[in-house]
Symmetry: C2
Subunit: 336 residues, 2 copies
């Protein structure tokens, strides 16, 4: 297994060696390539972009699955069981995480790999800890490029994990084919931790820990969510989100969740939505990435930095129209 | 009543005359000031910004209400009845519309004022047709600045109407205090026309045409929506969205909707969310406006125009990572 921190001590490979290694499914080289993608150093970025450019023809052939849920829902346990189910079918699975909150030292979801002990020992599985924190846009780019590298390395299923309380779900939703929301049964306030809008993104909801005393509340929750989901407008791909239960303790429900994803894939490949969605996502990230960098360039400008605070204050206090203030800042930016 | 098309024939007023006229609640000068806000001519924009800057201290004192619903829900009829209810209390009401789709000549919601005949004759009401079409950002700016001008002219309630099928709802939601969703009772597919995410924005849902044979289905719909809404995570302001019915035909339900807005205002002013939300909205529009203009400047650049199509095609076809393509375009932009 790759230990990213040792990378700097190792001799640097050529782009060709990386490309070849990734293409051969060499787990250690894949790990190091992802470390390059995550690095902020200019030379690492250049190398990473070269590797990506040359690997593009080998990407795109996996199923990309986003998995989210609040802390305590049993995400790690679920992913371990789900991952083992996938490798048992002889498929290679990669687990990535998107977690912009980890810079604050809380909410971190992939501090290390020990929480998925069995899966991390599986030769068909690749688990990557959460990238070092940064802006959501930065983390999203890193995750999306890591997906591409894993695909180039032959991983057939990519699980992208997210913590379910922040903005990252929208980002993940824009980079996966299927979005799975894990939920706990409860007295109605189980949703309080889930950010508004996340439920609408779900292609399936799985009620976890549906065993023992929790079995009946779980069944009630399934009906509640089913009734709730039908109130949402139908999705463009015409897929009707499903609500399921699972129990890691009793090892139940995993097969049904995988079968649901299988049905979804058949459904979306048949109606061409799968390809269409992938294309839209690529386009989205192109423009998103342009906007993010234009903004970062603007806000870093010394003249903007010097003036922004005062103008923002005036806007917030209702002394200046936001559009007038924006115009003033843009004039300043373009004349300097 | 102001007829915008005649503006150019009239002598141009000074900024002072506009500011004074708006402050005096002169409906004709207000209309002409909004025409300036909507104009794309640089000299009109300059004048508009001057008027706005000087009027800012008189803004912010209204209740801003967003009203949306698909065509056929009875929006005009509802707004007429609702507006009359407001003027009957002695309050001044302004009706604005946001409708970026009107450039395609369909979905237009405020082609003229005749559809609200009674309200348009009411001395306490000001109805403004939809601004000439443009980008969503442009239309949003025009609408938001029109709100400010109406407030400076003493309007105490501003109704912002939107068509409920496009992106404009998010924009409207970011410029109003209260968001009202009009819905028809029906067999479950009444929601198909409503864009995903809109229901979550609603502070209240009103089932229209709740009379005659439609009365029972409306009652059933109320229960369905109530059950559905409780599945949404609670709002930051802790307001629990209400579901009501109304009938323009039987002149019922309007009072209850106004009372709901009144409760909402009390609730949000008490917990300070009202002010906080207004501040956040102003900040949002400042940065949104900066991003929009940075983007428009970028995409208009001849070198970007020449290259974008090819790179976008490569990205969509999976030959190039979106981030690599974005980087290439940004390098081109910054070196020229």
């Amino acid at each position: 297994m790759i230990k990213p921190k040792e990378t700097h001590k190792k001799e640097e490979f050529s782009a060709e060696k990386y490309i070849q290694g990734v293409a051969n499914g060499d787990i250690s080289i894949l790990g190091r390539a992802i470390t390059l993608v995550e690095s902020t150093k200019a030379e690492h970025q250049d190398l990473a972009q070269k590797i990506l450019e040359q690997s593009m023809s080998m990407t795109g052939k996996s199923i990309r699955i986003g998995i989210t849920g609040v802390p305590g829902v049993g995400k790690s346990t679920f992913i371990e069981g789900f991952g083992k189910h996938i490798t048992a079918m002889g498929k290679k699975v990669a687990v990535l995480a998107i977690d912009p909150s980890s810079e604050e030292g809380r909410g971190s979801i992939l501090g290390d790999k020990t929480r998925m002990e069995k899966l991390s020992k599986d030769a068909l599985a690749f688990i990557r800890p959460s990238p070092t924190a940064g802006s959501l846009g930065g983390v999203a780019r890193k995750t999306r490029e890591s997906i591409l590298l894993c695909e180039a390395a032959g991983y057939e299923v990519i699980l992208v994990e997210t913590v379910g309380v922040g903005q990252s779900e929208t980002a993940v939703h824009s980079m996966v084919d299927f979005f799975l929301l894990l939920m706990l049964a409860g007295a109605g306030d189980e949703l309080q931790g889930i950010k508004r809008g996340i439920m609408e993104m779900a292609d399936a909801i799985a009620i976890t820990k549906a065993d023992g005393d929790n079995l009946n509340p779980s069944k009630i929750a399934v009906n509640e969510y089913k009734r709730g989901l039908h109130l949402f407008p139908s999705k463009k791909n015409k897929w009707i989100p499903r609500v399921l239960t699972c129990s890691s303790y009793e090892n139940k429900g995993i097969t049904e969740i995988w079968d649901t994803i299988d049905s979804f894939m058949n459904h979306c490949i048949t109606n061409n939505h799968f390809e269409e969605n992938r294309k839209k996502q690529a386009q989205f990230w192109l423009h998103e990435s342009i906007q993010e960098q234009l903004g970062s360039h603007f806000y870093k400008h010394p003249k903007i930095k010097a003036k922004l605070n005062d103008l923002e204050k005036a806007v917030v206090n209702g002394e200046l129209s936001p559009f007038v203030a924006a115009q003033q800042l843009l004039n300043l930016f373009h004349t300097s």
